[in-house]
Symmetry: C2
Subunit: 403 residues, 2 copies
């Protein structure tokens, strides 16, 4: 099912609305055609026309323009034996514009290229901690990875329509400044000045891109949900009617700093008894008597799977704390579902029972269902790359001008 | 400043989007003209054209249509002495369609009529408790009040374009069924079957209408805020980018059931340590050693103003609990401001200091500012009536068809 274009555009909360005039309408209709073929193709011109409620003639003009821009391609005549003149099936191009997604994780750097069909066409990773490293060497290494995947994609006939970067921190609404990424030790860093300038850049919080990935790529994900993810901190993406709720400063979704015990331990955020003090990775490692190492989540998952009582108890208590914080969030937002994504999805077997019990215990009627993302830790990277792809589908005329 | 029409329409979250074609564009432009004159009038045709970016000729056609429908009127030529041909100033009509607002409160019933200029033209109140009264006698009395204000308005040349009713409870997304109003003792009540059928009806939660009133009528209210109100329960309206966040079932904004002490006293909602157990009217009366009576808020305000230590302490503790719950809400939603409305606005002098201190104590940077609504307990009633008025401004062609 294709979302109406104006909604798709608005999903990232960054799109620029097209004017409500003839020219704007034409551009929106180009996007509708491209979205429809992307979501349901291959489709004939007639099928596209019936799906979006325009005449066959109007759709043909739009399709021709999209073919000239290299965004759609004809797969040749449909198989014979059908009634009427054979139509040529249309598909979104596997060449042309593509989205670069990148991620600065606490323990890794990643870059990938996703084409208009949504396939990952190039990918590169660099493992190693980024904790308390200065932004310059980190972005230099990331730039090398980006150039590597872009070169690989260019060999395949693709070109980069934009770069979107996921960072574990608070990002200003300018979409380029990291206001604070405590687990990297970054404060007020303008990434626009440190990354390649040949692609339009969007920087966003990793939880936001994780939530958008769930919205766009998840299995039957509804349009109203709360996506909870973790790297070291705990973040959430609030998706309302298919749009990401960003907040005034761009800081919405700070579930990790919802108080769960008003007089609990002090938190670096300035609060007390914040969720992160009970369910953050470091709190769980501490409760389980383990030392923080390189792949902390893998360690917790391995120990829990092996039946380590201390680890299982620590995860159970973290699930309970998550349940308290989520009760508040569910009462405020009334989402259709809560999705556990990112690193949390790997720990779900040991978090979920106590989390769900706590939600149920605090709810008179049926409790809000909790699902586990199948995207797991890949969510933020894919969400970043797909945000560029979707911007192309939303307003193909803009990218055609730049091609 | 006039909000773009598609946003105004979406603000209540109930509007039907117009199709993206010529006819839809014309209807949207009629709304733009009417909204502009409503927000900034009296204005000449030329001034309207420059404000909304259409040609003078296009605006004149739209204006003529709005005058024929009785929605705009010409005030006569502008004062002489200006350069150029004198234009006639346009104003929104003080006759024609109007909105009926009504409220079922725990202690009162109210109805009013608001004209397109936003003025209250008729008003009727009935005091007396509605707690645990059956819906039928309550809606019979309310219907009498509604017919009284409508008759009064008709005498003044107005006609009712719709009825919007505020209820202290959870309302289904059908906009007519009360799922649960615990302080009235109502469950699964279809108000559509009990109220006059000659006007289109919308039932909504009083906190939602209170929040919309703040958005539309507040003094410099931003487009992202959290409106907290109370009658007996504590509710909130979450307004994001000028739209009301309703939630999947229509139950968003249940701030009163955010846990502030995970092991606190049991709450009828099924939870434990919910905000209402610390800052709800009954909890505050209990903490202050007072008996629940008819005008509980007035009693608390009078005692606090007189320096009653027990009452002041109870309100201070309620403010602290509000601060804990709002810290969570602010972390999740990142609003520009929190507005205390409804009954809470009368208690603000004694709630605010501890509330603000708690928010500040739990926030590393500058805390989210807290403002007090100047609409006070009238907010939900005015929000209801104005929701009907705004629906007329959004799509004047729809009301012209019905006139």
């Amino acid at each position: 099912m294709t979302a109406p274009l104006h909604e798709a555009r608005a999903a990232t909360g960054r799109g620029r609305a097209l004017p409500d005039n003839q020219q704007g309408m034409r551009r929106r209709n180009l996007g509708r055609v491209l979205h429809t073929v992307s979501a349901e193709g291959p489709l004939s011109r007639a099928a596209v026309a019936s799906r979006i409620g325009l005449t066959r003639a109007a759709v043909s003009t739009l399709v021709d323009e999209l073919i000239r821009s290299g965004l759609l391609e004809e797969l040749g005549p449909e198989r014979p034996g059908r009634v009427g003149r054979p139509g040529s099936a249309l598909a979104v191009s596997g060449r042309g514009p593509a989205g670069i997604g990148a991620e600065v994780g606490v323990d890794h750097l990643t870059a990938c290229v996703v084409d208009l069909r949504g396939r990952v066409r190039a990918r590169a990773v660099r493992h190693g901690t980024n904790r308390d490293r200065a932004p310059e060497p980190v972005t230099r290494q990331l730039t090398a990875l980006i150039r590597e995947v872009v070169a690989d994609a260019e060999q395949q006939g693709l070109w980069a329509a934009g770069l979107a970067l996921a960072v574990p921190g608070l990002i200003a609404r300018d979409g380029r400044t990291v206001v604070s990424a405590p687990n990297l030790g970054w404060h007020d860093v303008d990434l626009g000045a440190l990354l390649p300038t040949e692609f339009p850049l969007t920087v966003d919080n990793e939880a936001n891109f994780g939530g958008l990935a769930e919205l766009w790529l998840g299995d039957g994900t509804p349009r109203d949900f709360l996506h909870v993810s973790a790297e070291i901190g705990i973040g959430a993406a609030v998706v309302v009617d298919g749009r990401l709720l960003r907040g005034t400063r761009g800081f919405a979704g700070e579930l990790g700093h919802v108080p769960v015990e008003p007089d609990g331990p002090a938190c670096p955020c300035g609060g007390r008894g914040c969720l992160e003090q009970y369910a953050g990775e470091e709190a769980v490692l501490r409760a389980a008597g383990l030392e923080p190492g390189e792949d902390r989540v893998a360690l917790l998952a391995a120990r829990a799977a092996a039946g380590d009582d201390a680890v299982r108890r620590a995860l159970r208590d973290a699930g309970t704390a998550l349940g308290v914080a989520l009760t508040g969030a569910v009462n405020l937002l009334d989402p259709e579902t809560v999705v556990l994504g990112g690193a949390l999805s790997r720990l779900a077997p040991w978090l979920l029972p106590s989390l769900e019990a706590e939600l149920a215990r605090r709810t008179a009627g049926p409790a809000c269902p909790v699902a586990v993302s199948r995207l797991g830790p890949e969510g933020p990277l894919l969400g970043a790359a797909h945000s560029v792809v979707r911007a192309v589908l939303d307003d193909p005329a803009a990218v055609a001008e730049r091609a």
